[in-house]
Each structure stands twice: as structure tokens, then as C-alpha cells.
């Protein structure tokens, strides 16, 4: 089956000599919900910028639904919808006109463009604002406008570069629901985000990029299986002077007097609960200390940084 996106040996060196991409390769399957994660400056936006034709590559190949971006740019770009990180619409243009113009750039006739813009503006709760200049919209509305604009020509591949940055939790959740809905309808989605719970909640495949290299590219399930240790925070019914000793589990008290317990991947929670039963105090609540993907992400990035640092000082 044709891949939604194929990136081969993609390199980018900026004019100042900074090598942003060091020959990365990965593919995204049709219908996938794919996350491209990495710290600031890792190369995420450069990668997506090249795919969206906003950044010139130094070398390598990009294919979108089998169309080579160099050889058949029109066909490749027709498959693509883009939601960039920064607001990039005309601040003086009316909301619906922005969508109609965008559809026009894809060769969609006016009547069809009106219909499609109406559908997405209603879907994203912007219909009442359709005749307002876009600068009058709130931050959340502007984010939604960019999503509506990216979808107005019904792309097969939607790229979202940190779509929920600076968005309140309620709007973020409703955007997640909407993205899941359009993904279920067949649109392939590639997402970059700094909210790792967003990637864990939405995506089926995850690539982690750092310093211009892909560190991991696998299914979310396989990635999470690589997590060796997970830390749980327990609220208990009494205050403790020191952490209780548990067989095979590492325990400690945190600054708030809560009990933290590390559970290795080969251990299970039942073993832990059995031991906890033996104490006079009771566990009143339990939660993971951090998002699982976040722990894994930080581990990978730290390892990468360490390798780089070692390399520098060798």
C-alpha cells in the first residue's frame, strides 16, 4: 500500500552551518495518527517545513501519497493540509474569505468552496464569526480557524505543528475529539506536540527526533513497553517519618510527604499491593508520577544528550 508519507535520507543544513537534519528516514502509513516528538530545536518543525514546502531541503526525498515533492509538487501538495505553529493568516481578511481563498488555491470552484467552508466553520464553532476580520478572534478561535483552513480542501494527510499550544484544557480536549473523528474518517494525521499526554492519548505511532536524528520510530505500544520503570505517588492516611521498606521495590518520601514507589517493568502491581496490605496506614490515592511517554521521552533525550556530550569530550 502507498505510504501517506515517505521521507528518505532527509538533510537540512542552514546557511549558518547548523545541521538541523542529519539524514532522517521514516514512513507514515495511510490512516495513521502519527506523532513526531522532540525537544525544542530537535528538527521537528524543519522536517514538517520541508514536507510543507516552506523550507528548502539540502538533500533527500519526500513522497506524499507516492508523489515525489520535487517531481510532482502539485499532486503531492494537493494531498496535504497544514496547521502551522504560528498564526499565519491575513489578519484583515474575513474568516470565511480566508477559507474560500484557501480552497481556491487548490482549484476548488467557488460554490463548493463556500459549502466546504460553511461545513468546517460550523463544525469548529466559527460560523457566527464568519464575517469578522480574523484579527478579532480569540486565540482559541484562531487555532480552530487554522484547522478549518487546513481541512477546507479535504486533504488526505493533515499535518499539525503544535496545534494545542497555549490552548485551554477544555478546548484542547474538544480539539482532540475532533481530530480523532477526522482520523476515524480516514484522514492521516501527523502531529507534533510538547504535551506528551496528547501524543499518548491520540497517536498510534510515535517517532522521537533529537539533534536532527530519529531516536525511535515505532508503535506507541512497543515504545511504552520499553519503559523499564514507572514511578507511582501514593497519598497515605498518616504522615510518615521515613519511607517504609518494601521487598524488591524502591521507595522514598517526596517533599510533600507523599510516598513514591518505583515499579520495574518485570514487576506487577499485585506484588506491591500485597506488601502494602501489611501496614497500619491506608493508601487513599495512587497516581503515576508523570506521563509514561514523558518518562520514556526524557530517558531517550537524556541518553542522546549524554552520548553527544561524551562524544564532544572524547
Amino acid at each position: 500500500m502507498i505510504k501517506a508519507l515517505e521521507i528518505s535520507d532527509l538533510r537540512k543544513t542552514y546557511d549558518n552551518g547548523h545541521q538541523a537534519l542529519k539524514g532522517i528516514s521514516f514512513t507514515v502509513e495511510q490512516g495513521d495518527f502519527f506523532a513526531l516528538l522532540g525537544p525544542n530545536g530537535a528538527g521537528k518543525s524543519t522536517t514538517l517545513g520541508i514536507v510543507c514546502s516552506l523550507v528548502n531541503k539540502s538533500s533527500g526525498q519526500v513522497k506524499i501519497f507516492g508523489h515525489d515533492l520535487d517531481k510532482n509538487p502539485s499532486e503531492a501538495k494537493t494531498c496535504l493540509g497544514v496547521v502551522p505553529q504560528e498564526f499565519n493568516f491575513n489578519q484583515f481578511e474575513k474568516v470565511q474569505n480566508i477559507l474560500i481563498s484557501q480552497a481556491g488555491y487548490y482549484g476548488i470552484p467557488l460554490a463548493e468552496a463556500r459549502e466546504s467552508s460553511e461545513f468546517y466553520l460550523k463544525k469548529l464553532g466559527l460560523w457566527d464569526n464568519r464575517n469578522q476580520p480574523s484579527r478579532m478572534l480569540s486565540g482559541g478561535m484562531k487555532r480552530r480557524l487554522m484547522i478549518a483552513r487546513a481541512l477546507v480542501h479535504k486533504p488526505k494527510l493533515l499535518i499539525l505543528d503544535e496545534p494545542t499550544a497555549g490552548v485551554d484544557i477544555e478546548l484542547r480536549r474538544s480539539m482532540w475529539t475532533f481530530l480523532e473523528e477526522i482520523n476515524a474518517q480516514g484522514t492521516t494525521i501527523i502531529l507534533t506536540t510538547h504535551y506528551l499526554e496528547e501524543a499518548e492519548s491520540l497517536c498510534r505511532h510515535i517517532a522521537i527526533i533529537d539533534q536532527g536524528d530519529i531516536l525511535e520510530n515505532t508503535s506507541k505500544k512497543s515504545l511504552l513497553q520499553k519503559l523499564n520503570v514507572e514511578t507511582f505517588v501514593l497519598d497515605i492516611s498518616t504522615s510518615l517519618d521515613k519511607a517504609p521498606k518494601l521487598t524488591d521495590f524502591i521507595t522514598r518520601l517526596n517533599q510533600d510527604g507523599q510516598l513514591e514507589i518505583e515499579v520495574q517493568s518485570h514487576q506487577n502491581m499485585n506484588q506491591l499491593f500485597e506488601q502494602l496490605k501489611g501496614f497500619e496506614w491506608r493508601v487513599t490515592s495512587l497516581r503515576a508520577k508523570s506521563n509514561r511517554l514523558e518518562e520514556l521521552f526524557l530517558g531517550l533525550i537524556e541518553r542522546g544528550t549524554q552520548t553527544e556530550t561524551n562524544g564532544v569530550f572524547q
Binding site: L54, V55, K77, N88, Y105, Y106, G107, L110
Partner: protein
């Protein structure tokens, strides 16, 4: 993209451009009308009768074609440079860059937008001039084609300026320090036959001289230069300007990282 889709993309850009300058008509259409009316009143009505004839015509009749052409040139240029730089500044140019519109369509669309504003202002100034003089167009074909080609040429000029501009100052530098002096020295207000022979030769390096004179030939039937040479100069510059603009777009100069 199919030819029909390309046509839709082209008309989308043109409609957007026309909507832009129409929406801000108080900044785009009114100022040239006021400025040209002042030229007509001061140079044509007040000073003109003291000057007498120029090129065998009343001074007012002589300057009208030049002033119409001056307004077409400045407005065609200003439209493209401000619109395209504005899109770069707001990053809304990315809407077009991510889309499948071929670069030649993008360029043609913006140039057509510039031509639309240049011609609109030219028509307004022409209507205003009728309040000061009677226009009897001698060669309608020459008049129409020269004004159209000149608007195309200066729209391309505005586009190149916008591509290279990195700040708002860069948008006004060329019109202020290059375009305005060349226009004023391009025979708008005088016939170069008044100049010493050396300065007549220097004036002939100025491409705007050929446009103003060819347009004056179309309206009054008089010109300081050969009209055929004017066509060759204008078309030559258009071919160069279009090729260079397209090269800049293909390379992504100033618009892609």
C-alpha cells in the same frame, strides 16, 4: 492541477488582490486622485498658461498623459510591493506556498492585481483630467496597449522589491529614491527636446521616458522617441522582469527558509 483548477487559483489571487485594494480605497484610490487634481490645478491651470505650448500642444494637454502614466506606474508598483510584502510579514504567503498553485500562476495573479489597481487609478485620473481639458485620443490601440504593458512591468518591479524586502523601510526605498526621480525625469512635465543634447542622451537611458512618450503619442500623436523602440524597451523589460521574478519564486528567495 488541471487548466480549470489553475484558472480558479489564478482568479482567487486576483479577486483577493482587487478586494484588498478596494477595501482600503481611502488609502489606495483617493490619494492619487487628490494628488493628480493638484497637479492639474497648479501645473496645468496656474503655471501652464505662462509656459505656453509644449510639443505643439497646450501645457495642460501635454502633461495629462504623463500624469496618467505616473499614477499608473506608482500604483501598479505600490499594489504588488505592499500586498506581497504584507503577506510575507504576516506569513500568510504560506497559504499559497503549501498549496499546489504553480509559481507562474502566483506571479501572474499578483501582477494582474497590480495591473487592476494601476488601471483603476489611471481611469480615475483620466476622468478627473476631463474636468480640465478635452481628451481626443489619437491612437486608441497604442494608448491601451502601452498603459497595460507599463502596468505589467511595474507590477513585476513591485514584486521583485517585495521579495527582497525584509522590513517596511525596504518597501518605500525604491519608490522614493528610484521610481519618483525616474518618473519626474521621464518627460512627464517637459519634452526632452528642451534639454541640451548631452542630457537628451542621458534621458534616453531612462526607461520611463519611453513609456510616457509612447502613451503621449497614443493620446496626442506626439513623442520624443520612436514608439516602436518604446514597445521593444517595455516588452524587453517585461520578459526580463518576469523571468527574474519566476526565478526568485522557484528558488524561494525571501519566502522559504
Amino acid at each position: 492541477m488541471t487548466p480549470h483548477q489553475i484558472w480558479i487559483a489564478f482568479t482567487t489571487i486576483v479577486v483577493k488582490e482587487v478586494r484588498r485594494f478596494s477595501r482600503i480605497w481611502i488609502q489606495t484610490l483617493v490619494p492619487p486622485a487628490i494628488m493628480m487634481s493638484l497637479y492639474f490645478v497648479i501645473f496645468g491651470n496656474l503655471i501652464g498658461p505662462r509656459i505656453g505650448e509644449m510639443g505643439g500642444h497646450d501645457y495642460m494637454d501635454f502633461i495629462v498623459p504623463g500624469l496618467i502614466m505616473m499614477s499608473v506606474i506608482t500604483n501598479a508598483y505600490a499594489n504588488v510591493v505592499s500586498s506581497f510584502f504584507g503577506m510575507k510579514f504576516q506569513r500568510s504567503i504560506e497559504e499559497i506556498l503549501v498549496s499546489p498553485v504553480p509559481n507562474w500562476v502566483v506571479l501572474t495573479g499578483y501582477v494582474t492585481g497590480g495591473v487592476a489597481r494601476g488601471i483603476s487609478v489611471g481611469l480615475i485620473v483620466t476622468l478627473l483630467s476631463l474636468g480640465f481639458t478635452d481628451l481626443h485620443i489619437q491612437h486608441i490601440g497604442v494608448t491601451a496597449s502601452i498603459v497595460l504593458l507599463t502596468a505589467v512591468l511595474f507590477s513585476l518591479g513591485g514584486f521583485i522589491n517585495a521579495v527582497y524586502a525584509t522590513k517596511f523601510d525596504d518597501v518605500s526605498i525604491v519608490p522614493t529614491f528610484v521610481l519618483t526621480p525616474l518618473t519626474y525625469l521621464g518627460g512627464v512635465f517637459y519634452s526632452i527636446s528642451l534639454l541640451p543634447e548631452f542630457w537628451q542622451g542621458v534621458s534616453k537611458i531612462n526607461p520611463i521616458l519611453y513609456m510616457v512618450n509612447a502613451f503621449r503619442y497614443g493620446i496626442l500623436g506626439v513623442s520624443d522617441v520612436d514608439v516602436v523602440v518604446s514597445y521593444l524597451v517595455i516588452i524587453g523589460f517585461i520578459v526580463l522582469g518576469f523571468s527574474y521574478s519566476l526565478h526568485l519564486l522557484n528558488k524561494g528567495h525571501g519566502i522559504r527558509t
